[in-house]
């Protein structure tokens, strides 16, 4: 009793204190790279110290993920008070009405202190303030190999040829003159204006079917095929690794990479991407910013106030100076440009000079369509399936159609009413029809079988509570016009997306490919699994050891093994091609730059990931086969194949078929592998299966309605498939 009294009084005493101590929490989502995160966290802790009662919680997400999770959060009416990201996200966010114009909450004068590049305008309003400017590409050269950077493209090619060498005489090139992630449009975009005109007009229209783009295409092909100064396959990680290991004299990369090269102890210099000799123009890297935007959703006015305070703090000279000193970024605050630290930093000085020839990063949402179509056509060009002229023509067409798809706002037509009516009728009909079963279901809880109902119910309530809302939500948006322009106020418009998908030949092509993907994968999963299980079970000593060994692929997180496989498929440096060349004396395969081989690479990776599961299932099945059967077969002088064919296989079937059925459903919907191994459908969007196509439509092109419709189609396909196979299975069993 005494204890309770003490507790009561102490609670009474503490409660006002607890109220006062409960801090206001401000959330900040960002995509800063590792080095910058450390500085950010330090700055935030300082802010908390100066503002007692406010805590800031920072959350890191990778750029693309930050975008999609912020969209989802803001849709749900919540999300962080502040979001930090690259400037090209403000177009989509502002269009969706999920970030707030800063002009409403900050005085006009506040913006004057910043470099205009750091406060991009979208529809004449400020939506973001950047803490730094840059993110631009430049030529980075290894000072050990190159005394000074080339002045123009002819010189670059000459130097490149000089440094592209086979150092140990094994017939393979060990060092390249130039490396860069040239398969990615962001990395070749700087060259386009240098060959003529910009790739987007001022009013956000794509300007791609131009001589400039054709010449840029020809230029890259020339570097690769004629001058041979860049590797045949080179993604970001390859370029980075080659440069770091001193196996490349020059690299095109952005200012974010400096820290990494410094950490690796490299002696490097930076310069503009060399002047194009034939036109006399400088390549123009895109200069952008990454900055802070304000959420439209605020819990209270106190949150808004605190968030604004934080925004001012993070864009203040003090914090910018911290970032500049620690990670060497060019501050956006103009008054800091005269600061001795900026002036005396050689990298920043050159970087500012490089920026002079830059182009501001476009912030309109349309730019996404431009990048995407550039990537698709350009990769087809690199795979030699298009000529430069065809590719340029294709880019323009594709960009236009993607942009119009993205901006499409469907109006409800007659079928909308039909759908709504149908749903109403269906619900009533269903309620009427199932009245009896529902009633008996409820009565079941009191009846003789009530035990069953209580046993079964918790799991089903759990599963369907979690799945039912998302499922019907998707069905609803599949009939709706939910997309970029209607993010906050979508409405049911009818069967448009279904009609669109079902009349599109692309859908059927993807469907066919998905079937091929599923069949090949499940076939190899099952046969490999059964084969290994039989061999381990019947021949090998130390079964436990082998079992564990073959399980390892399943235990390591998929994400990293998928990327590992991607690295292993690299044409020149991947171990797979090295193996093919050294041991089998085959010519190297262009795994990732040709559609068929890239798809094969995805399949190989997925086979690798999937066979351990089937092996375990098969091992289990084998244990249940009575030994006496084999002994009898032995007496009958059956050979190994006969024993397998007539004993093992038939008795293993009942175990493998359900596993294969589930496996086929999982494989059909396996997004990760295709997405990671082929880097989101490369080359040229030709390695997609249905589910990765859905993902791309929803999360890259904002076509949620369309993506949901295709998802529902996928669902129906799988329902039919599994109903069919279950029925045939059932028939076999009862026969």
């Amino acid at each position: 009793m005494k204890f309770v009294k003490v507790l009561f009084f102490s609670l009474l005493f503490l409660s006002p204190l607890a109220k006062a101590a409960k801090p206001l929490r401000i959330q900040l989502w960002h995509q800063m790279i590792y080095g910058h995160r450390v500085v950010l966290s330090e700055a935030l802790r300082q802010f908390e110290k100066e503002n007692p009662g406010v805590t800031v919680q920072e959350t890191y997400r990778e750029t693309e993920e930050l975008r999609s999770s912020y969209q989802a959060a803001a849709m749900g009416g919540s999300g962080p008070e502040l979001v930090f990201g690259p400037s090209d996200q403000i177009g989509p966010f502002a269009t969706m009405n999920i970030i707030r114009p800063l002009d409403e909450v900050l005085e006009e004068k506040y913006f004057e202190q910043f470099d205009p590049l750091a406060i991009p305008l979208y529809h004449d309003k400020h939506y973001m303030i950047g803490g730094a400017v840059g993110n631009h590409l430049m030529l980075i050269y290894n000072k050990k190999l190159l005394a000074k950077p080339p002045q123009n493209s002819d010189e670059m090619i000459a130097l490149g040829k000089e440094h592209t060498r086979d150092l140990n005489g094994d017939g393979k090139i060990d060092r390249y003159g130039l490396v860069f992630n040239y398969t990615e449009p962001f990395f070749f975009a700087p060259f386009i204006p240098a060959f003529g005109e910009a790739f987007m007009t001022d009013d956000a229209k794509p300007n791609l079917d131009t001589p400039a783009l054709r010449k840029t295409f020809e230029f890259i092909l020339r570097l690769r095929d004629k001058e041979k100064i860049i590797p045949k396959e080179c993604d970001y990680e390859t370029a980075n690794a080659l440069f770091k290991q001193g196996k490349a004299a020059m690299l095109i990369n952005g200012d974010w990479s400096w820290g990494d090269y410094k950490d690796a102890g490299m002696d490097f210099g930076i310069a503009r991407i060399p002047l194009i000799s034939e036109t006399g123009k400088w390549p123009s890297p895109l200069v952008g910013t990454a900055g802070y935007s304000l959420n439209v959703n605020m819990t209270s006015s106190a949150h808004l106030e605190a968030a604004l305070k934080l925004l001012r703090y993070l864009t203040s000279e003090r914090v910018q100076l911290m970032f500049m000193e620690r990670v060497g970024v060019l501050p956006s605050n103009l008054s800091l440009r005269d600061n001795p630290i900026v002036k005396n930093n050689p990298l920043l000085k050159v970087s500012a000079e490089i920026m002079e020839v830059g182009t501001p990063m476009p912030v309109v949402p349309e730019v996404r369509g431009v990048w995407d179509s550039l990537r698709i056509q350009y990769q087809k060009l690199l795979a030699n399936s298009l000529t430069p002229a065809q590719a340029a023509e294709g880019v323009q067409k594709l960009a236009e159609s993607q942009i119009s798809d993205m901006n499409e706002v469907l109006q409800p037509d007659a079928s909308a009413f039909v759908i709504k009516g149908l749903v109403l009728v269906l619900v009533i009909l269903l309620a009427w029809v199932s009245k009896g079963s529902l009633l008996s279901f409820v009565q079941g809880f009191k009846g003789p079988q009530k035990f069953v109902y209580y046993m079964m119910l918790p799991a089903f309530v759990g599963i369907f509570a979690v799945i039912i809302y998302p499922f019907f939500y998707n069905i609803a948006i599949s009939f709706s016009n939910f997309s970029l322009r209607t993010f906050q106020d979508w409405s049911i418009v009818g069967l448009h997306h279904y009609a669109n998908a079902l009349t599109d030949p692309k859908f059927y092509a993807l469907f066919g490919k998905t079937i091929a993907w599923t069949v090949v994968n499940v076939f190899f999963h099952v046969t490999l699994g059964v084969f290994l299980a039989v061999v381990i079970n019947q021949v090998m000593p130390a079964k436990g050891f082998w079992r564990t060994l073959f399980i390892i692929p399943w235990a390591v997180p998929q994400y990293i093994t998928a990327l590992t496989w991607r690295g292993m498929f690299n044409q020149e440096y991947g171990p797979i091609n090295q193996f093919l060349q050294q041991f089998l004396h085959l010519s190297p395969v262009q795994w990732l730059s040709q559609p068929f081989t890239a798809f094969t690479a995805c399949i190989i990776t997925n086979v690798w990931l999937g066979f351990p599961f089937m092996m375990i299932v098969a091992l289990g099945g084998l244990q249940s086969i009575p030994h006496s059967l084999y002994e009898a077969a032995y007496l009958d002088k059956a050979n190994a194949w006969q024993r397998f064919r007539h004993i093992t296989l038939p008795l293993l079937m009942p175990v493998m078929i359900p596993a294969a059925l589930l496996g086929s459903i999982w494989t059909f919907n396996n997004l990760n592998i295709v997405w990671l191994v082929s880097n989101a459908g490369e080359p040229g969007d030709q390695t997609h299966i249905l589910v990765s196509y859905v993902y791309k439509a929803a999360f890259n092109l904002y076509r949620y309605g369309y993506a949901a419709a295709v998802s529902v189609l996928i669902f129906l396909i799988l329902v039919l498939w599994s109903l069919g196979s279950l029925r045939s299975q059932y028939r076999k069993e009862t026969r």
Partner: protein, 272 residues
């Protein structure tokens, strides 16, 4: 003899196939220069260092993530096993209205592309104020792993002779007692698989965790590991080292229960 050589030969080939990528990850984790690719086939070179592993434990919140992951995975497993074992028992032993439909509905939950469920998940979780709480994770994890577990458990119960329960019921046991005292102990192998599957699916799950958890103090291992990854600036060394360590508990679990795993799947799957 020829057969044996052939068997050894093929096993070794497949062992290489299954292990090499892991060795590749190992070599990345041992490199000091934070690069993901290398040009040699060697795994351990003269520049190999354990620095990444040391950094992982000393300079990151790895142990915190490990603790969170263990907590989430363990609770999910317990809840998953409890729910799967009871509902699968009902599905296996009793005939009632809608039984077949329920079995099929379970399978059907696996058929909708999971990525499209993220947005509505977020909306509903934030309405229920389950964002940034382990509760949100438990609920989703235990119910997403359930369909497979229920199928698996049901198939196993199907193989247990009915006479076992009939005897118990005649002796005056209640239905619950029969289930709890007779059936569950016999099913321990299948329970182990169910537990393993639930554990694995919550241990390395990333997508839903990323939706639910935003507070770095609550991060699970996959979230923590992915924070080493940034577009064009990944901490490859730390990432690879972390990925390898993450798989160690899973392997230990595998080895310690693989005896049950084999016999469990056996009996459970015979009738599919």
């Amino acid at each position: 003899m020829i057969k044996k050589t052939l068997a050894w030969f093929s096993i070794l080939i497949f062992a290489m196939f299954s292990i090499y990528p892991i060795l590749y990850v190992l070599s990345v984790s041992l490199r000091g220069d934070n690069a993901f690719q290398s040009q040699s086939l060697e795994i351990i070179t003269s520049t190999s260092t354990l620095k990444n592993f040391v950094d992982l434990f000393l300079r990151t919140d790895f142990l915190l993530w490990m603790r969170n992951s263990l907590l989430v995975a363990t609770l999910t497993t317990l809840l998953g096993v409890a729910l799967a074992s009871t509902s699968a028992y009902a599905l296996s032993r009793y005939r009632f209205r809608g039984r077949n439909m329920m079995l099929f509905a379970l399978l059907a939950t696996q058929m909708f592309p999971a990525t499209m469920l993220i947005l509505p998940f977020y909306i509903i979780l934030s309405k229920l104020r389950l964002i940034d709480s382990f509760w949100g994770l438990f609920i989703i994890y235990s119910s997403t792993a359930l369909p497979f577990c229920v199928w698996q458990m049901k198939a196993y119960y199907d193989t247990i002779p009915k006479e076992l329960e009939e005897a118990a019921l005649l002796d005056g046991c209640s239905r619950w007692m029969t289930f709890y005292k007779i059936i569950l102990p016999v099913s321990s192998p299948a329970l182990v698989i169910t537990a393993l599957f639930s554990f694995l699916s919550s241990w390395s799950e990333y997508v839903i965790a990323a939706v639910v958890l935003q507070d770095p103090q609550l991060y699970t291992l996959p979230l923590g590991l992915r924070s080493f990854q940034a577009s064009m600036a990944t901490q490859w060394g730390l990432y690879a080292a972390g990925a390898l360590i993450v798989s160690v508990p899973v392997l230990i679990l595998f080895i310690s229960i693989s005896r049950y795993l084999v016999s469990g799947l056996t009996m459970g799957s015979v009738k599919g």
